[in-house]
Symmetry: D2
Subunit: 408 residues, 4 copies
């Protein structure tokens, strides 16, 4: 399959711009991509490496160049070292991919610290400075970085992917209601979430945007309008990597069998920076919102007792552990239960999806598709489009897309 994916239909050069460039997910994506390119690892976990997607005209591993924004000062090799100690990244891959990693590191620029960020870790002072700029000036800086990346590497296209830590939930205001309101707010210098500014910078530069986080990104109506205006595809929000994936694969079974779910209690134990940030109540709120609505919608029961908890357990590091307890009623009023425990590396689960989305988004842009990319719903906890949380229905939509796009 890997071989097939590499087959050229004409040389292309895609730039992948990762926001949160030295975070765990970006680090795994970068080393993983290098490993795929050098044949050091299998494409396990990559949806687009399987048929029928391997038959699409997607960019090959070696057609992707990496760059990105980051707000912390630590080096990529430090992140990689931590992931080796956490037994996520294999030590020999880190060695084998060192030249690619160095090239990536050179193309990482200071990001934009969100005004409400808890500022964990060794902050890059330039990112803090950029975060305090009036939004129009911040946008200018971001756009300049993107333009420089494209120009210097002579890239055919650039896809911007948000992998930054979850932002604090903000009070809703009218700034995002439509593009005109947002422009006015920007002109007036009103502070906006960093993810929104990243999305604005990308879309206004004509570059597709992928929001892999629960932060707003391009989900506000104003940004969606901008994407349509610029004829750019974009997708999000919040990568569906673990417990929610299992949930949305299982819940349709209860519905199909007419079993009445009485309660669905989910508990997530996170140990990485994501968990640390989410230990802050405001940040947790953003995350829980995108996780909580899923079941009520899937089970068509707005009053469902559906709890989602997130706790920070530092010793787990990248190894997320989740326990779900489903209490349900069957025939004759019999009360039964299903419980599951999911134990997985958060970054190793997320990274291949990031690569999948890069490839699918580039293809969509090349094919002239515009807007929310409903065929990518299976990748997200809170898809911008697609109309269902049912994983199997979402995946079927992706298969249908592949069938209709093959050979084109």
């Amino acid at each position: 399959m890997a071989a097939r994916a590499r087959k050229r239909k004409g040389a292309r050069k895609l730039g992948a711009w990762l926001i949160g460039a030295r975070g765990s997910v970006a680090t795994c994506a970068a080393y993983g991509l290098a490993g795929l390119r050098e044949g050091l690892i299998e494409p396990t976990g990559l949806v687009t490496a399987r048929e029928p997607f391997a038959g699409l005209d997607l960019v090959a591993w070696d057609e992707i160049a990496l760059g990105g924004h980051e707000v912390c000062a630590r080096r990529l090799t430090q992140s990689a070292g931590e992931l080796v100690r956490q037994r996520v990244l294999p030590a020999d891959l880190v060695t084998g991919a060192a030249p690619h990693a160095a090239a990536y590191e050179e193309r990482v620029r200071s990001g934009l610290l969100d005004a409400a960020d808890v500022g964990v870790g060794d902050l890059d002072p330039e990112a803090a400075r950029r975060g305090s700029l009036p939004p129009r000036e911040a946008l200018e800086a971001l756009s300049a970085d993107l333009a420089e990346f494209q120009r210097e590497l002579e890239l055919d296209d650039v896809v911007v992917v948000n992998l930054a830590s979850t932002e604090a939930q903000r009070a809703v205001n009218g700034d995002g209601a439509d593009l005109r309101s947002l422009e006015t707010a920007l002109d007036a210098g009103r502070s906006q979430p960093a993810s929104v500014l990243y999305a604005y910078a990308a879309l206004s530069s004509g570059m597709p945007f992928v929001n892999f986080t629960p932060s707003p990104g391009a989900s506000w109506p104003a940004l969606r309008e901008l994407a349509r205006e610029k004829s750019v595809p974009h997708c999000g929000n919040d990568g569906k990597t673990g417990e929610t994936l299992v949930k949305t694969a299982l819940a349709p079974m209860f519905l199909a069998r007419h079993l009445r779910v009485l309660a669905w209690q989910g508990y997530n134990l996170l140990g990485n920076r994501d968990g640390e940030v989410l230990a802050d109540p405001l940040h947790k709120e953003s995350k829980l919102k995108s996780k909580g609505d899923v079941l009520r919608s899937l089970l068509a029961d707005p009053d469902l007792k559906a709890h989602v908890g997130i706790d920070y357990v530092p010793s787990l590091a990248d190894w997320k552990t989740a326990w779900d307890f489903v209490h349900f009623e069957g025939f004759l009023g019999a009360r039964m239960s299903l419980q599951f425990t999911w134990q997985g590396s958060d970054s190793a689960l997320a990274a291949p999806l990031v690569i999948d989305l890069l490839r699918l988004t580039e293809l969509a842009h090349r094919r002239g598709e515009v807007g929310e990319m409903p065929h990518t719903a299976s990748f997200f906890k809170a898809p911008l489009a697609g109309g269902t949380h049912d994983f199997h229905a979402q995946y079927r939509a992706l298969l249908d897309y592949a069938a209709s796009s093959a050979g084109s």
Copy 2:
């Protein structure tokens, strides 16, 4: 929904002939049906009580009359009492449904003890006698019971459902290869599995047959030929009620995400008569066969390390408990796991599916459908037709069938 299902499109009378008539599943089906008829319980767990199936022209609860074959001597009220003590049947339903239960009891006849049966419990001597008859004589007795049932109750149709305990695995011989071979074997007086004789009696009487057990029933080519010859629909094998249901809902997720399953270990703890019978190695073999192939087929990996264990734990009674451990590999070679524990009442899970299958089979017969009913694959561990073990794909086929049959 129940109200909708009861709406008459013309009075009909369906006979449901349950083999294993006083077993736990049949007892729950009988009391449950009476409870639905009297409005004492909700139709939770009944697939056909949900839309879009509630819109099909299916028989109503009060259009179904029950009868059946049984090899044990205990009374239906004894079975019901046990299920009350096991906290499966509600005590007030047993009281409220007593008249219906008594009517059913009157129409239960001595069944046919399989030659290899382990003979648990208080055997009905007449069933033992029938079991030792030459097959042609046994068939005559069975057919006479079916004919009497239809005649006396003036039934429009009779559907025969096999709910008997799993039979011992037999050495394969050529008797079932085609109808002619089977006829010859019967003429020669060669012993056949009881489930095969039941299926033969039903089909040769022009009555549809549902095999809810892993015993051969109508799955041999010879029987399938007989069904086509008699223009009768039939379906099976082995109701998908618990652990296998969850398995077939979850496994497609691993495939869709290109996660490599390294091992899938399943352990089933059973406490009812099913568990007792399956404690016998030969009987267990039949069951494991139909459970074991599912994952290798679903995950498209013929070498998958997929273990299924069954242990008899009498104290659990009807409350089956299963633990599955899935070991899988993701991106970067990271090894992860998913485990689940399923705790449910075996009979309360099976009984509504029996009622669903009665209704769907009657409809198929009335609509002139012949053969293996591929649209019922989602109900079975080893479907006779349908082409996949993927629960969601199977269920979609049922939805498609409903769409194409609505209004007809």
Copy 3:
């Protein structure tokens, strides 16, 4: 064993006064005691029905008469009916024990609503009135009920057991620091927690007090002083019935093997009135406090990451479900885990311990023991005395007590 326990060493009559008289635990204790008396049930779950305790001179089942205080208006038969529907109380026990239940019901009096009580359910107006009385008047009413109970039934002793719902956590003040301060506060009419008033009423009447809840009860220094002054034994707090029991049985193993616990996350799903009350944050705080300290103390690690969560899941009713995840490090830095799921009936677990404590407390009083009864530490989450949370060490202390008390 039951027979042994009934052997008379001289007729005695113990009054057991249950606060929360028609709650689930009290209801199970009352019906259970009647069932033991009538030989309808086995003494499973009763510690004192096993050797070597069966050899102590404890009161027999038929030597115990019941009465109590209650703040809700519902009848005992209503509570019992609910517990039958929840499949905790067997229906035939409720029938068989009806006369004993009726006698108990007659001796239930209006209790004292705690000033901060959330007031769930159908409140008894007299209990609300009593709750608003100046504390000295409330104490008078409580004491009069206790005296009447002893006088009318000619009881040799009365043991008061607090089984009421957990009270809201109050800000600490100096009222409980010593007896003189408490007397002053009572004289001044300052409101006190209901559990403290119940304890005061009991102890000042010379009656032993058992606090089966996390509410303060007799745990304040002032009350302990009163008990010593009146030469009365008492014990508490908070019955150790489920998750904490397992925790304190398992944690010593990690310590003994020098395995380093990195995190111990416990999640409790409660569906009964206890869960409903604990859904209120202030009430939950009381409970979590007594649960949370246990592990840090047991594992001798004051910085241990030990989380205890409680969530209200109404559909579970009395069937508490808890999941604990223990992350630990072994030799070579290897990170491992143990997880357990506990599923049990809260009331069926608590009720026999209540009976055990009644018997042990009466014996202690008869033997002239005074104060906190350290030998009962194994029964409590936050024992008033005993010096360790290690269940096995606590139980050994109980065995030692039995050995030293036998024959006396």
Copy 4:
């Protein structure tokens, strides 16, 4: 603590002779010991590194020299490499301990292949040859190796530890009934289990023997007699490292609370060589025997439904996973359950216990103790002495031993 353990009370030199010298447990013990010596790792998991044992006059890390017997040809560095890949041994420890490992490797000799061994892996031909020798000749070879080890390194004492793979269960004969019978059998050239010959070689050389496996070792009466005759201490059988440890820590809780265990089903998933060997039914039988009796004895219920299963799941490698389901009955006949999942590195759990036993056995020999060392019962699934399987009682016996031995 490590510092304390190293404190000299007089220089000593202990030889530790490991049978199965390059297996996973021995490899972890060897690298771990070197790591402790060099201060590269913490003594986590070592019972004797905690108080009060750290106060005993035990040999220090750097007073232990290693040698051993092995039947496979692979090198120690190969075993270590595998354990690094399996994420059990840290890569930097392997580098840091390389000189110690090389010294150990030089002192590994060809072992004795058990006649019934399944012969997995790359067999050392000399071990096969030795295995086919008449027993007296084999014993001579083994004893010569032990003597050479002691002589060349000028060791004060040598403790022999059996860490070899579980042997196949053999039919019981009278050879082991007493020492005279065994001597006769050896003279007659009758084949004996390899573990028995190893034990005979050690004991007859006056060297203590530790049997960490379920193989017979020194458990036959004949060998116990030999140990007494030679005034040597010895202990065994079968290290209690995981599921059985948890079982024996939990089961006493059920007994103490008079909760009736209805069934205890345990399932072990093993992926290492141990699992591979145990996939062979005859070998599994030995293991299950020592695991199965534990619960019936602990719960004082000879008829207990207690199942122990072992399945080989190669992908788990050293990471053993076990699921236990405990079904139990409480007051009022309420049926409840506890289930636990244990996930740990088999070798990282076993290796520190091996080091503990080396130290305790050397101390016992130095102190003139003879025979089965009942104070070591907590380390074994089937202790040769100690009288109980209750982990807490066993551990208390070890504490008592420490108290009585301190300062001596």
